[in-house]
Amino acid sequence: MMGIVLFKTALAVYLACAVVYGASLWVRRVLTARFATWLMLAALVIHTLSFTSRWITAGVSPVIGIHDALSFFAWVMAAVYLALQLKTKTRVLGAFISPVICLIMVVASVELGGVVGAPAALQGSLVTLHVMLSVTGEALFAVASCAGLMYLIQDNMIKQKKAGSLIRLFPSLRDLDRINHLCLSWGFPLLTLGILAGSLWARIVWGSHWQWDSKQVWTLLAWISYGFLLHQRLVIGWQGRRAALWSLVIFSLLVVLLIFGKVLLPSIHQFV
């Protein structure tokens, strides 16, 4: 019960945070964005408490099940963003990240209070590890694509010579590119480890490492696309606009595919 109240409070604070971030773009004041950042921190703390309470009451790790996995996804995004705040002052990036967090939290709240974990096949510490690693990896990609979107907007404004007062709020292109780089180079290995953990578990419960399940194919696709992007970044030297554009395109495509897959294709890999 406590967990649900905390979750709802966190969602409300995230919403407030997104609204204040939006307002900061509107009034073009760093002060407003700074306030929003503190709201985000408050939301993250409440969110963390909600996880803790769920862990204690349910007695199992709180990341399995569609509600908890999504909630964890949002939690990682907020945590990564706030950690980035410490290194680079990228405040208004929050205006792009907080709505995504809110959206994910709203979707997560649909299954609020559902049973933790479902099929017996999807329970065990290796599954927890698998979910945590993969979700963290994917959340990092989400942050990368938010930074990418912001990069594209700003790049366009500078190229079009529309360097107005909005641009003054934005972090520099270099900072945005660095965030993109950082998130990719951390997200990819995490996702790789997540897939490995999942595959080990699949061997135990389903008898083989790989089943060509729709969800697995989707993950493979994500892994290949981000592997490609990271390769282009590190080896070919993609940076700036192209890297930003590709991380945004890949992420959007994956989201669309995920939704379609969920509606159209059956999967043994479902949460509930």
Binding site: I158, K159, K161, S165, R168, S172, G237, R241
Partner: protein, 420 residues
């Protein structure tokens, strides 16, 4: 109020008159504060002198008399004729003076609105006044209030936020692209006055190395020596394109000296690192097509001028907000000042005492219930008359001081003693 501000600024007085009055713009000039304090009517004084203004702010015992004294003082300082000076001087009294001081400190009255130096100069002027013990209750409070108003204007409006010169606009854009400019490599093509100015701005931001290409190699060498840069033969500059981050072109060439192909061919070796091209030459030096290449940003002189114009517009709009903040702060100060008057002080002193009496009587009411009606009345009268006796001397003093024009310090002490 007994506040007078007399002075001149870049709008009211031509340069040569301001020059003659610039008593302390240069280092080591003599300090006029002690002399000011010798004027008969002056109680407190603050003296501000910058390259664009000379102002004296004073708390005076008698307004008109003091103004004459201050004017005479300025005539003497500047060695100016009365007619000459009267055209240039402005005089503000009381709240108008407060408002003017707040506007000056917030850089609303500056030649370049929003420039940051004036606050520092104002603080320095205040420090000088404190060192010379020429400030008191009013000017101390007023100065700190002015600093606070300036800070509010700075943080709550965008008045100081946008570049209003072409070379500074270029630096700001470079920062948008590269984050900070430390360690960045600059190429100057053409060693003219404009590129020199831009280079100075960039050096102040801590750029790494500067390469200078010029048709006359000797001039390139000369400028390189000045900026600790590297001179480059003019026709060799395309070879540097893979390395540099910012290019400033300002040659007198009749056509493009850098085309898109040059930039594109450098991009393999650049690994798509961003490149900022600044073309301040007229006619232009860089083919506009170069600006279409990925991660290449090309600004010519008109683009930069547009940025500056837009920023000026923003500053003007922000100045409106700043004026509102100033008006609010003046009102706050006025409220504080009015409370320093004799009558409100008497009222609040009496009010405080009555409050204490009432409170204490209430606290004692449980045991006073046992007394008779008459006894209780007697106690109330007794307490009341003790308070009145105690208050008698301070009250009389206050009323006497109100006859004098300089009651302010006395009132301030009373307010402080009784925590009103």
């Amino acid at each position: 109020m007994q506040l007078v501000l007399i002075g001149m600024n870049h709008k009211s007085a031509p340069l040569d008159i301001r020059e003659r009055l610039q008593l302390s713009c240069g280092e080591g000039a003599h300090q006029p504060l002690p002399e000011l304090m010798h004027l008969a009517e002056i109680r407190e004084a603050l003296y501000l002198s910058t390259c664009n203004r000379v102002e004296v702010l004073a708390r005076v015992a008698d307004g008109e008399g003091a103004i004459e004294g201050l004017k005479a003082f300025i005539y003497r300082q500047g060695n100016l004729s009365v007619a000459e000076l009267d055209r240039c001087l402005y005089i503000y009294r009381d709240l108008e003076a407060v408002r003017h001081l707040f506007r000056v400190t917030s850089s609303l009255d500056s030649m370049i609105m929003g420039e940051p130096q004036i606050l520092g100069q104002m603080k320095e002027a205040y420090r000088m006044a404190v060192d010379n013990r020429t400030t008191g209750i009013l000017l101390n409070r007023l100065s700190h209030h002015a600093f606070r108003a300036a800070k509010r204007v700075r943080t709550e409006t965008g008045i100081a936020g946008n570049a209003v010169s072409v070379s500074y606009a270029a630096v700001e854009l470079a920062k948008k692209i590269f984050g900070d400019l430390k360690g960045k490599t600059i190429l100057l093509i053409g060693a003219g006055e404009m590129s020199e100015l831009a280079a100075r701005h960039l050096i102040r931001q801590g750029v790494g190395s500067i390469h200078i290409a010029n048709r006359t190699y000797a001039r390139a060498e000369e400028m390189a020596a000045e900026f600790q840069g590297v001179p480059v033969a003019f026709d060799k500059f395309p070879e540097l394109l893979p390395e540099v981050d910012i290019v400033i072109a300002s040659t007198g060439a009749p056509g493009y000296i850098m085309n898109a192909e040059m930039v594109r061919s450098a991009f393999g070796r650049r690994r798509r690192r961003p490149l900022f091209l600044i073309d301040i030459a007229v006619p232009r030096d860089i083919d506009p097509a170069a600006g279409d290449i990925e991660n290449v940003y090309l600004y010519n002189i008109d683009h930069l001028q547009d940025v500056v114009d837009a920023n000026r517009e923003v500053r003007r709009a922000e100045a409106m907000k700043a004026e509102e903040i100033i008006a609010e702060e003046v009102a706050v100060f006025e409220k504080w000042y009015n409370a320093l008057d004799v009558v409100p002080t008497i009222v609040s002193l009496r009010g405080k005492m009555e409050g204490i009496v009432k409170g204490e009587l209430e606290r004692s009411s449980p045991w006073m219930k046992n007394l008779s009606e008459e006894e209780r009345n007697r106690i109330e009268i007794l307490v009341g008359s003790i308070v009145n006796k105690i208050l008698h001397d301070p009250m009389t003093g206050l009323k006497e001081e109100s006859g004098d024009k300089d009651a302010l310090p006395f009132v301030a002490v009373i307010r402080r003693l009784f925590n009103l």
